[in-house]
């Protein structure tokens, strides 16, 4: 027994002491997406992981850790558990850096450092094709006398707050709301929710069978030019919903630079830009300093949403 333990410890020590001193990346890298597979952040992070393998010759994987109704935060906490060496990279939505530090779950203002932001979601409020409303005004009228259930990605998340703020401005309330890890065609078809907050990628297969009531973004979605934004319909401030790459605080600058270089190349590449054209998502690369500035300005907009809801 002793011999085996000694052999095991020796193997272990040799394996991992060698990798600690080598140039980054000296081992496998994991991109953690705190949502189920299939949405834009997942598709694009997988593209980055593929490019990573080509550029560095090292293994890279995408791991999905949905929050089970708790949004992206359980996944973010997993990234926080990992060492600050670039071996685990978070692919986070806007909510992690803006809401995470405010809800007392162990994420501080500086827990994560942004590498860059790379996608703005075509984010919508959708209803089934036979719903007796086609826009927010009609939904408001319908909700005065009928129960309407909202399906969203998490209670405190920004799109949920934007939807609730718009409802308040238009003078109605949802009868109830539930958090989902995934909101897709089946969420509407099965009757689980009457209206859902989701992205175009998840409802693409049934887009012709459902109604898009509004989109949550600063401008109309190129693919849906007739659908007004939530700001146009309700008067709340416009807000973009985005996703970016983050690492744990203390990650060396050369590691962050390496991740940024490969990610930027991927996002500006043909494959990602084709996806942008086909889906209406805005795909780009904004580096560390621009991302920090964006987080600061979006934090102000988030406070405005909270003020409406109080």
């Amino acid at each position: 027994m002793k011999k085996f333990i000694i052999a095991f410890l020796t193997t272990f020590t040799l394996m991992f002491s060698g990798s600690a001193n080598a140039e980054y990346p000296s081992g496998p890298v994991q991109f953690l997406v705190p949502w189920p597979p299939g949405d834009f952040e997942d598709i694009l992070t997988r593209m980055i992981a593929e490019e990573w393998k080509v550029e560095t010759g090292m293994p890279a994987s995408v791991v999905n850790r949905p929050g089970g109704g708790d949004g992206p935060f359980p996944g973010a906490l997993e990234v926080l558990d990992a060492p600050a060496d670039g071996s685990v990279i978070g692919s986070f939505v806007i909510g992690v850096p803006i809401i995470g530090p405010r809800i007392g779950i162990g994420i501080e203002q500086d827990s994560f450092e942004p590498i860059g932001v790379f996608v703005t979601y075509p984010f919508v409020l959708a209803a089934s094709g036979d719903a007796p409303y086609s826009n927010l005004k009609e939904l408001a009228a319908h909700a005065q006398n009928n129960d309407v259930i909202l399906g969203h990605f998490g209670e405190g998340l920004i799109p949920t707050k934007a939807t609730l703020a718009a409802a308040k401005k238009l003078g109605f309330e949802f009868a109830d709301s539930s958090a989902y890890d995934m909101l897709d065609c089946n969420s509407l078809a099965s009757g689980d929710a009457d209206v859902i907050n989701t992205t175009l990628a998840l409802i693409e297969p049934c887009l012709s069978d459902i109604k898009i009531l509004t989109n949550i973004g600063v401008e109309r979605i190129s693919k849906l030019p007739d659908v007004p934004t939530i700001s146009e319909q309700s008067g709340i401030n416009d807000l973009e919903l985005w996703n970016g790459l983050f690492v744990k605080k203390g990650t060396p600058q050369d590691v962050k630079d390496k991740i940024a270089a490969i990610s930027k190349k991927t996002m500006l590449g043909e494959k990602a830009q084709t996806l942008a054209k086909e889906t209406g998502a805005r795909i780009y690369w904004e580096g560390e300093s621009e991302s920090i500035a964006r987080i600061a300005s979006d934090t102000v907009k988030f406070d405005e949403l909270n003020a409406i809801l109080q």
């Binding site: 085996f4 994987s61 109704g69 708790d70 558990d81 539930s178 099965s190 689980d192």
Partner: protein, 497 residues
């Protein structure tokens, strides 16, 4: 049919072909070595699959899953020791045939029966996909949050009831798994559940860490602490080809057993043991020589091996169709599906039909490869049975720890995996089942998620069961529990009188 050809072309890739080969041959070897088995092998491989390509990792695990029971039949037949727990019933008639000097006949019957069972259930799955695939998109609309909640609840009930001798223990261990999955910070409600102020526990337990600990490390400890038994020498004299065609003499037994395996595989929580039990009992009741059962009856061997090998392909169906795994191995595979960017559930038929075909065609290749391999290498594999337990245990332990560490380079993962390893070791020593813990975690998580998400539509409890599927499933749960209670009372009454 386009999806079928696309699925086939997905497999025409060097890495995928190698993965099928390694999975198939590796699964046979793993199955043939008493003490390892597919669950432990898949648990060890899970961390590594994170870094493999999507289809490569899935066909590798499927290969092991689909071939281990072939290998497990070898020691069951030759030395009366099942290679995997599922092969236990094979020893009854398989080893008796060996004692009667019919080892090659028993092995070739086992191979042909397993092949028939595997191909039967794969064909059923493929025919269903081709015939009903285009309509399955509409079928998805029947499965809302409340329906999947009820499916997971039915799976839980069936799993517990399947442990007939240990129902209370299985229920308790299922509850332990349920509690494990609740550990963590419920961030939107700002509630810490069972974290005991340990920051590591805020993100909950990683399923892979628990699986590796409970299955692989516990068995490593078991092997290292156990004494090597002195099994009888496995002699294999004679050709293996002659017995292959003998299966055609027992078409009814083969067909009924394959059907039982397929149906039991689809029902969550039931699996190989119940399928074998039903098949074996039916084969005996149909036989002209029922007294031979247990003493070398070929029908008995055929019933066991056909039914258990029909289960893997069928067990993939509930996982793929509604995202509810029915047993431990498919629960482990669910992790890989997510990492492969595939979300099992009703939409999968719409979003990745070629991927589904790839999986079932790969499983078909695995079965073909395994039979060819076994026909030429059974003599060699028969010698692997004798690898010393202590060596095996150390090997499993090293691989398990390296795998867990590689998930995210965190020593705490290794520490908790070791903790779960000790828990699994204690359970093994008590002879308590391990599977309920893992399924408690997986099904528990599904039930919490679906109930929470479906809560908006549940004003009263009746809202939980007033949909066609959830109503049917809840009625099934009620009838199954009622049936078990009646059977328990009746048996007690019979014993007393």
């Amino acid at each position: 049919m386009d999806a079928f050809y696309l699925g086939l072309s997905n497999l025409m890739n060097f890495q995928v072909i190698v993965a099928i080969l390694i999975g198939a041959v590796g699964g046979v070897v793993i199955g043939a070595v008493p003490g390892i088995g597919p669950a432990i092998a898949i648990a060890i491989l899970l961390p590594a699959t994170i870094f493999l390509d999507d289809l490569v990792s899935l066909v590798l695990l499927l290969g092991i899953y689909g071939s281990a029971m072939y290998g497990g039949a070898i020691p069951a037949i030759l030395i009366n020791t099942p290679g995997t727990p599922v092969n236990a019933l094979t020893t009854y008639d398989g080893y008796s045939m060996t004692k009667n000097g019919e080892a090659p006949r028993a092995l070739s019957l086992a191979y042909s029966s397993s092949f028939f069972g595997g191909c039967f259930s794969i064909s059923v799955a493929l025919i269903c996909l081709i015939a009903f695939g285009p309509y399955l998109k509409d079928f998805g609309a029947l499965f809302g949050q409340r329906d999947i909640f009820m499916a997971a609840a039915l799976g839980s009930v069936l799993l517990i009831l399947a442990h007939r001798q240990n129902m209370a223990i299985a229920a308790m261990l299922f509850a332990v798994g349920f509690l494990i999955t609740m550990v963590g910070r419920q961030t939107t409600k700002k509630v810490d559940r069972f974290t005991f102020d340990i920051e590591y526990l805020a993100s909950g337990f990683n399923l892979i860490v628990v699986i590796v600990g409970i299955f692989a490390l516990s068995q490593a400890l078991n092997l290292m602490n156990g004494k090597d038994s002195d099994p009888p020498e496995a002699k294999l004299i004679g050709g293996l080809f002659r017995g292959l065609a003998e299966l055609k003499n027992y078409p009814a037994v083969a067909f009924i057993s394959a059907s039982f395996g397929t149906v039991m595989g689809i029902i969550p929580g039931v699996g190989e043991f119940v399928a074998q039990f039903f098949s074996y009992s039916t084969a005996r009741s149909l036989s002209k020589t029922p007294t031979q059962f247990g003493y070398g009856a070929p029908e008995g061997l055929i019933a066991c091996e056909t039914s258990n090998n029909a289960v893997p392909a069928a067990a993939m169906i509930p996982l793929l169709a509604i995202g509810v795994p029915g047993e431990a191995l498919t629960a482990m595979m669910m992790v890989v599906f997510f990492d492969a960017g595939i979300k099992p559930g009703p939409d999968i038929f719409d979003t990745a039909p070629d991927f589904l075909f790839s999986l079932f065609i790969a499983l078909l290749f695995v079965n073909i490869l395994v039979v060819i391999t076994l026909l030429f290498t059974s003599r060699f594999i028969a010698t692997i049975i004798y690898i010393p337990n202590k060596f095996l245990g150390a090997f499993v332990m090293i691989l398990a720890f390296v795998g867990v560490f590689s998930i995210r380079n965190n020593f705490m993962d290794c520490a908790f995996a070791a903790g779960f390893g000790f828990l699994g070791y204690i359970l093994r020593r008590l002879n308590w089942p391990l599977v309920p813990i893992v399924l408690g975690m997986v099904l528990g998580q599904i039930m919490i998620e679906k109930l929470t998400a479906g809560a908006g539509k549940i004003k009263y409890w009746v809202d939980l069961v007033n949909r066609p599927v959830s109503g049917f499933l809840s009625l099934t749960i009620f009838l199954v529990i009622l049936g078990t209670l009646i059977s328990y009372i009746y048996n007690n009454y019979k014993k007393r009188n």
